[in-house]
Amino acid sequence: MGFRSFLHRITAPVLSGERPLGPCKMVCIVNQGLKMGKGKIAAQVGHGAVMATMKAGAEKPLHLEQWLATGQKKVCLKGQDAEHLLALEKQAKAAGISTTIVRDAGHTQIPSGSLTVLALGPATESELERITGELKLL
């Protein structure tokens, strides 16, 4: 470890907040009502993952740290349409899971402002299972 990173480590603020109870994962639910190509879906899920990560850094740093340290597990699931995604978001919010909505700028393939992806977490697997347990893998 270099001298500077050593200094950073000993002077960094202590992470606080709730500690995750068990392994964490991130779930991305893709709106299947839109006919997006594979590459488009990949880019949209990428948006969701980065936004959710940044959000977690501010809201749940301990969850984020554990998730990054254990190989940042991600799962991609199918959602029916925009209403379905919004309903799931509501449930997740009520359960205290951080949620991120991705709306497309509409440069390619689909109209501007379409709700493409809902990202949930990083949160513990058991918490997420309760909300997304019935959804199919993409």
């Binding site: 590459g39 990949a42 880019a43 940044m54 990054l68 940042q72 991600k74 991609c76 700028a105």
Partner: protein
């Protein structure tokens, strides 16, 4: 007014020969997105901010094999761009340790275009 050519961009180059499903591809690309962003935040903090404010442009391209990915990763590193090779843990679809996706950026769009202009969108 900043021209669109200078807007920072991130690119994922995925291996087409692995025949990954849409979900698998999306997950691998988002690994690259998160890791590139976290790494770039340490070294290119202002570029990352500019990229996120301009809508965090991301595109997904395809490469035919591993050799292409490694060649592009080398070229991008020589050009001083942030790169990340995603190595899959192999829980599903592909054997453990398989390199699936190369993430480059955020980087100026011109620098990325110079590297990947011959690749097709996935």
């Amino acid at each position: 007014m900043v021209s669109t050519v200078d807007e920072p961009s991130m690119v994922f180059i995925a291996r087409h020969d692995l025949k990954m499903s849409a979900g698998k591809l999306a997950v691998q690309c988002s690994h690259a997105a998160v890791s590139c962003t976290m790494n770039a935040r340490k070294t290119h903090a202002r570029l990352v901010e500019r990229w996120r404010n301009a809508g965090a442009r991301k595109i997904c391209l395809r490469a035919d094999d591993l050799a292409t990915l490694q060649r592009l990763a080398g070229q991008a590193q020589v050009a001083g761009l942030v790169t990340y090779l995603v190595k899959d843990a192999g829980h599903t679809e592909v054997p453990p340790g398989t390199i699936t996706v190369l993430g480059i950026g955020p980087a100026p769009r011109r620098a990325i275009d110079a590297l990947v202009s011959e690749l097709k969108p996935y």
